[in-house]
Every structure is written in C-alpha cells, then in structure tokens.
C-alpha cells in the first residue's frame, strides 16, 4: 500500500495530558506528525484535534483505533485529501519601505488572496490562507523583497460528508446509545467506515 496524506480528526474531552497521550501513539511507532492543530470544537467542553500524517491506510486505520481506545477520546476519523476541505493560515512580515517601493502591493494582495493585518512604517504583516502550495507561493513572491518573518498554522479541515458532532455527542451522554454511536466502525459497511 502506498503512503499518502491523511487527515485525522479527533474529538476529545478537554483534559490535561491528553495531547501527550495522543502524541505518543504516533511517536511510539516512529511516525512523524506533519501538522497538528488542537482547539475547542463547536461543542463546549469538547476539543477537536486535526492531525496530518503521511502513511498507508492500514497504518492510519490502526492509529485511529488506538486513538479511539483512549478513555477521553470520543471519536476518531481519518480522511484522504479529497474527502476534506482544508486550510492553513500563514502570516508574512515584510519591510514596508521595500514593499512600498518595489511591489505593487495591491496586485500582490489580490493575486494571493492576502490581506494586510498590520501596517507600520517599518514593516507590514500580510496574512493569507489556503493549501500548502498557495502559501509557499507567496513566500516565494515575497522572498526577494526581504521577508523578515514567516509563520504557518497547522491544517484545519472540514470533513465533506460530516453532519456535525452535536447530535452524536448527545448520544454519547446516553447509557444505551444507538448502534450508530456505539458503532463498530470496523464492522460497518465499508464506505461508511470513519464517515460521520
């Protein structure tokens, strides 16, 4: 099986130490995490991890099972890139004088869908979001003009087939949830595996 990029989405309780508990599932198997985002989800008290790794599906499936096995993990899903809509956010700090002199700022902003978030006499901070390549392209465009600092966020992703987590969480509260929630994903119909 070929390695490809997978995005793992994990819903968890908000608990100290859980990041470590999830991270060591990867490090124990010497798997590098390309990108990791963790932040509160739309449901209060529930956190959402978005983890990107480059692995075979077999490995990713096993990883998800190990993640979901953790007591404070509600659910883990994995998706290929065509099953998700994703973005990274990036910021670029460039010297104001060079930019003002040499580049048509307006054209640059339009071309890369970027906007200025801070403008000072000494530097400007641009911000853009998009896929990895789009963000890299703007680095290239700005490099000749003395890019001072650059930062990129982890990937965040929306699963195309997702119906949201509210209803599911409600069922988690019940002692006897529906089959769908207590689901044995490994036994479900193939196409529904890890889809919400």
């Amino acid at each position: 099986m070929n390695k490809q990029e997978y995005t793992i989405t994990v819903y968890t309780e908000n608990q100290v130490g859980l990041l470590n508990r999830i991270a060591i599932i990867f490090s124990r198997r010497k798997i590098n995490i390309d990108s990791l985002n963790t932040s509160p989800s739309e449901v209060e008290g529930v956190h959402r991890f978005t983890i990107v790794i480059n692995e075979t599906e077999d490995v990713v499936r096993k990883l998800c099972r190990q993640i979901e096995k953790q007591v404070e993990v509600l659910k883990a899903y994995y998706n290929t890139n065509d099953e998700i809509v994703w973005q990274e956010l990036a910021m670029y700090k460039v010297p104001t004088d060079v930019i003002a002199e040499k580049v048509k700022v307006e054209r640059l902003l339009r071309e890369y869908g970027a906007r200025a978030v801070a403008i000072r006499t000494d530097y400007i901070v641009f911000e853009t979001s998009g896929h990895r390549e789009e963000i890299d392209a703007l680095i290239k465009a700005l490099e000749p003009y003395g890019l001072i600092e650059f930062v990129r966020s982890a990937r965040v992703a929306i699963i195309k087939t997702s119906h949201g987590f509210h209803e599911k969480l409600k069922e988690f509260e019940y002692r006897e949830p529906s089959e769908e929630v207590a689901e044995n994903e490994f036994l479900s119909e193939n196409e529904k595996i890890f889809s919400m």
Binding site: R28, E42, K62, L169, K170, F172, F186, L187
Partner: protein
C-alpha cells in the same frame, strides 16, 4: 447552538436527579481516599509509605480494621503483588506509593499490567501543587512517565475531585479490557478539607465505551463459517478469564466439538485435561496446535491478541484459514491477523449467542491429528523431560511431581524464562485463574511478589511460585514481605546456575558464545532462613518427592531450591522469524 444548550440542560437535570439528597461532612482528601476504598470493597492494599503520601497513610491508620495494608520491600513488589491479587481474585488490585522514586518504581509493573490487561489502581503521592515543576524534593513527572503504560491516569490537585476521580479509576481499571490506572494526588489535596457528599460508584463515562452492542449479523456469519468447517480450531487467551466466561466458553467448544488450544495467559480457563484441549500455543507451546494452525480451515480466536510469540512469522501464519476473532477491544481486531469475521464484544455475551447457532458436532479424525502430533512430541520432548534417565534433575520432573501432589488444584505463579515455559507446558490445572505469569512483558522478578498477592487474592487456595535463580534475585527482598505478613506461599527455585533461556538462545543461535549468562547465587536456603522462612535444597531424584511433599505440608511459607541440569533446553521451539509450522522438536 440550541441543541447544545438542551444537551447541557438535560445532562444537568439527570445529574441532579441522580444525586441523593445527603448532608455533607467536612473531611480531608485522604479520608475521602479511605472512604473510596471502603466503598469499592477493597480489602487489601499493597504499598510503601513516603513523604508525599504521608497524609494518606495517616488516614489509613484509622482504617486498619477495614483495610489490610501489606508493607512490601520495594514498590515494584507492591504492584506485582497487586497484579497477582487481581489475577487470582478477579478484583482490582490496589497500590499506594509515594512520589518520585516510589512512583517510578511502579513503572515496570504498570507496563506489565498494561500488556497483560490486569486491573490495578495505583495511588501515588505527589508534592504540593504549588511545587509542581520546581524540581522539588521527590518530585517527578508521574503523569507523563506513566501515560504510555496506563489505561488512564489523572492528577488530583484539589480534594473535591477525589471521590469522582477514584470512582472513575476503579470503573476504568476493571471494565472493558482491564488495565492499570494511576491517580497522582498532590499533598495539599490529601490534606485539604472539603464538604464530602458521599461516594458514588461510576458506571458510565461518555467518552468511554467499554463494550459494544453486539451485532447479530457477525454472530450469524461466524456460526455459518463454523458449521461449514471441516477442520475448525479454537485458540483462546486471557479474555475468557477476564470476561468471566469460562462456562460459556466450555459450552461453546463442547457443543461444537472444537479442538482447543490456549495462550499462556488463557491457560487454566478450562481444565488442562479437558478432552478437547490440545495444549498451549506459541514459541514453546505444543507441537500439534502450532503445526495445525497452518492447516485448520476455520481459526476461531477468543479473547487473544495474536502476540508474536504465538504467531511466529505473521506472513506465514494461518494463511489458509478463515479467521473469526472475538475480542472486546476493537483495536485488536485486524491488528496483527486480518479477521474474516470480526466479533467485537464481551465474550460472556457473544459466546452464548454463537453456541446457540452452531451445530452439535465432533471431529474425531481432525482431533486425532492433534493426538498424533502429541505422540511425536511425547517421544522426543515430553518423556525425556518428565521421566529423565540422566543423573541431573529436570524442571519437568519437578512439575510432574508437583502435579501429582497438588492434583492440579494449586495456583502456580511463574517468573520468566525456561522454568516458566516448562511449568506452563506441564502444569495441570483444574480451576480457572490458577496460572499467574508475566506473559506479555516477560518481567523477571514478577513471581515472588505476584505470589504474595495471589495468596491474598485467593487465601483458601495453595499458592506455589516457581522461579528461576536469576529472576528470584531480582525481587528477592520481598522475602521480607513474606516474613512480616506471614504469607503462606511455597517457593520453588529451579536453579540451573544460568540465565537459562538466554543461554539456550546463545547455544542455538550464537554458537554457544555464553555471554554473561553464568550467574552465581547466594545460598538461597540460608537467605530464606535469615528471613525466618524454612527451606531446603535438593539435587537428588530420590529426595525430590519427599521434599516437595514436605514443602506443601509445611505450615507457612517455605522455600525449596531444586538444583536442575545446567544446560537443559526447552523444546519444542518455534525459532524467532519462523512460521509456527517450522516448530523444532530439538
């Protein structure tokens, strides 16, 4: 978001309706720990005091009439004892240890309990919350050290959390696939007074689903496969014991007439002389079950996880067979061996459902195949081991005599190495929860403290520990525990003056380059005597029977050192990296 608010509202109402109206009492965090122990019906605690857990030990002082505390000699001994206790009693083992070195000494036992699915709750003291991260005296990052080797861990810095966190700890440790839990309680939380509203045992955590709703469809598919099989073969592990499903399992194999083999940890779930029993799987398991794994047409795995010591080379393991895998832990399904039919669930539920759907059958010819291999194994391995003609004693003949004397009713605790394999190959068991050993982690030094715990877990039963000369010296200090608590355990040291298993590998795979396996020992009998434990050494065959009988009849603990052949090997053997069918008889 209104759905959400509804959820929160309903769950709050539920919470409120569940709480009994009760007056609160003002107690300390340590007192709350004691009340939790009593509420969880804990009787025995294995532990060792120290600075950061002193408030808990102070509270324990007043509970001496309800909680029995066994003072060990090293925290590793405490957790292995708790493991032994859990394995023979089926209850949760409990450990108290202090911060820093007290907690780090638990790590080996935690890893052992994790890989062997043993329910243990460890309470560790921790420095004051305001000192966390300051490199305070005896401070260590217990949470992060223990995360990879615990099913769950939690640090308490506020006493009000203690009742609910301990309730969760016990629930998590024993439910689903059991495992170890560490609760790290800072000293300020132990001392803090708070309004205690009673202890409520936990039976639901929303993010944790210990067992699934069984899907009938897969039971039906599994039954269909079994009913169509010509050479079905059942292999089972500790899941049968942990699921308390021994009876259900027996009914299942008996109705189906299914030849059955066990893993080292599954052993004793059915009597070893059951007519359908064909022996032990794995590297030093029996000949037939290993070879015929690669010949059966339907392999039914119950509560076992296809460890590499069982499967040998995976890409040559049971490739011809359709695999039915019954397990409570979904992460085990398809982990090592792809299941044709996965039956995710508690085998206490799934086995009766399956039994109902399978046809009453026998497979005399197929079973005969196992017996034929057994015969071959008898000739080349078993007879020479059990009835040796040479001058020196073999480990096998010790176990054979032990079987005769105990009639298979004893609990046998083994350490790790050659003696472990020989004991598990030849010991007879009539009762479940009788074979206590460190299977997954292979922890030398496990047996002595585990035997102590095993005795407290099953005080009415005879407990015999079989230990090698190497492993005995790893936790030898627990003789002190045996002395102080007068633990009636019988200790057999199989002394070959070698680290025998490693020596065997060096002989077979490293051209007899015996690199640091020549271990010398103290006079074990004198050491035992120093601890006021009676003992004896034997090296002659004619003395062995009497010595064993004297040991078993002796009131109180006893140590018997048996001098066995220096360079005896354990066979059969599946060499590492070989398929199970390539098992060697010599």
């Amino acid at each position: 978001m209104d759905t959400l608010q509804k959820i929160k509202a309903t769950s709050k109402e539920q919470e409120a309706s569940k709480l009994p109206l009760q007056a609160t009492v003002n107690i300390s965090g340590s007192e709350a720990v004691m009340r939790a122990m009593v509420s969880e019906k804990v009787h025995t605690i294995f532990g060792y005091p120290g600075g950061a857990i002193m408030p808990i030990y102070d509270a324990l002082y007043d509970y001496a009439d309800r909680l029995q505390h066994i003072l060990v000699r090293h925290e590793q001994g405490a957790i292995h004892a708790a493991q032994g206790y859990a394995r023979t009693s089926g209850k949760v083992g409990v450990v108290f240890a202090t911060s820093g070195p007290g907690a780090t000494n638990l790590v080996t036992g935690l890893a052992d309990a994790m890989i062997d699915s043993t329910p243990v709750v460890c309470i560790t003291g921790q420095v004051y919350a305001h000192l966390l991260g300051t490199d305070a005296f005896q401070e260590t990052d217990v949470m992060n050290i223990t995360t990879p080797v615990t099913k769950w861990n939690y640090q308490v810095t506020d006493a009000t959390e203690i009742p609910s966190v301990l309730a969760k700890a016990f629930y998590i440790a024993k439910s689903g696939r059991p495992g170890p839990v560490v609760i790290d309680i800072t000293k300020n939380a132990q001392l803090q007074k708070f309004d205690y509203a009673g202890y409520k045992r936990s039976d639901h955590i929303r993010s944790y689903r210990p067992k699934p709703i069984v899907r009938k469809k897969f039971i039906e598919e599994a039954a269909e496969l079994i009913n169509a099989a010509e050479k079905p073969f059942v292999i089972f592990g500790q899941g049968v014991i942990l699921g308390r499903a021994e009876k259900e399992f027996k009914k299942f194999i008996e109705k189906g007439g299914l030849p059955t083999a066990w893993t080292i940890l599954g052993m004793s779930a059915i009597p070893t002389d059951h007519p359908l029993a064909v022996g032990m799987l794995g590297m030093h398991g029996n000949y037939g079950p290993n070879v015929l794994t690669n010949e059966c047409d339907v392999l039914i795995a119950v509560g076992m996880r296809f460890d590499d010591r069982v499967t040998g080379r995976l890409d040559k393991y049971a490739k011809q067979a359709k695999v039915i895998h019954l397990d409570i832990d979904p992460a085990e399904i398809d982990k090592n061996v792809k299941a044709t039919v996965p039956v995710w669930g508690d085998c206490k539920e799934t086995l009766p459902m399956l039994t109902e759907l399978i046809e009453q059958k026998t497979y005399p010819n197929w079973l005969q195949r196992f017996r034929e291999y057994q015969k071959e194994e008898e000739e080349s391995c078993i007879v020479p081991e059990l009835n040796p003609t040479g001058e020196t004693l073999t480990m096998g003949e010790v176990i054979k005599l032990l079987n005769e004397l105990t009639k298979g009713d004893a609990i046998i605790v083994t350490d790790v190495g050659q003696h472990q394999m020989v004991t598990c190959r030849y010991a007879k068991f009539n009762q479940t929860k009788s074979n206590i050993t460190s299977g997954g982690l292979g922890t030398m030094g496990f047996a002595l403290p585990a035997a102590v715990g095993a005795k407290f877990g099953a005080p009415e039963r005879k407990v015999v520990a079989v230990i090698g000369d190497g492993g005995f010296q790893m936790t030898i200090q627990e003789l002190g525990t045996i002395m102080q608590s007068q633990v009636d355990v019988k200790l057999i040291i199989m002394n070959n003056n070698f680290l025998g298993m490693v020596r065997q590998w060096q002989q077979l795979f490293h051209e007899k380059r015996y690199s640091f396996v020549d271990i010398s020992s103290p006079d074990f009998v004198q050491v035992a005597n120093g601890y006021h434990i009676d003992g004896r050494r034997v090296s002659k065959r004619e003395e062995l029977g009497v010595a064993l009988k004297d040991m078993l009849d002796h009131k109180g603990p006893y140590l018997l050192e048996v001098m066995v052949g220096k360079e005896n090997n354990v066979f059969p053997m599946v060499p590492q990296g070989c398929s199970v069918a390539e098992i060697r008889l010599k």
